[in-house]
Amino acid sequence: MSQQGENSYSEPERRAQEKLQSIDTLKAPVIQLGRDMGYEVIENHDLGAGPVHITWVFKPGSESLPDMRLGFICLTEFSNSSINEGIARAMLNLVDKLVFVVPTETMTKQVKDAIESMPDRSILQLRKYVTVLTPSTLVSKQGIKGARQRRSAETGRGVI
């Protein structure tokens, strides 16, 4: 029965299903980490430009300051059109910084290179807006102190 059910999927449907599954796999640790860190986590944040898979919302704690949104878009395969689309969705949905979550380190390099290879005269400096990483990098770097934090811990003074 179940085999029949599986076979009833056409090739594009099966591929779409697989893509959705791998996006879910990439999303899971990001959602978990966001919740653990106490941020408001929104799945499929969409103001009309298409969904941003996950958004962490930072509330600065003052009504006079705006919320900051860190958006995560999962890419399962490399293509310039998916990068264009991801950046468009993030910017038009008022996301302040975008993180592309990709499955492998090889793809991290590909996407980074594509973003940094923009012409110098372009109006956008996308490397300042976009970060590319794998879920394992994100989780493993949690709790690792930056150079400034380490220095301040050694000297006993707070980070200015």
């Binding site: 310039n80 059109s81 990068i83 008022l94 110098d120 372009s122």
Partner: protein, 197 residues
Amino acid sequence: MNLERLVEAGEEKGFEVEQDVDFGAGPIQVVWNINVHSALPNIRFGFITLGGEEGGSQDTEDNQLSVRKIEEAAFRGLRSGLDKTYLITENEEMAKSVSGKIEWLASHGSLIRLDAISLGLYPEQQESSVITPSQQRVPEGEKIRKQDEKEREVKFDKYNRPQGERRDKESEEEGTKRELKFDENSRPKGQKKVLKD
């Protein structure tokens, strides 16, 4: 889609025209390099064709293109370092729909004013493609609409009630009773409001 007209128009105006180029963010069908002044850098206009054939399923069926395609193409132009990106569609209706969607996307208040860099066009377009905001087209639109509504209500009040049952003759209590009865009896079977004892 025939872009010869665009190429010819660019060349006639003395611009340097490139066809089917890729600056690393995806294909651009036509680029006009406009030399404004020898002391200034060239201005680059890019023309990207939008069609339903690249996997967008129902695109173009109702002369509408998906927001996904429009934003992707506009950002392809941005990432390619173009100063303006014009999205070329099959016909006028589609071009208007694309421009409308660009306006709508820009209205969310993003850092990028998409409508300042992008616009929908069709190959034979001669007239201006700039959409005039409705406030400028119909400056007193809101006033006219409200006035129309008021007139319609007055007419409704005058002709749609039986003689002697005009709203102004009905007391507040009678009005509430009538509304309640209307509410109870106008719902379909099985969806009647359950009234508490």
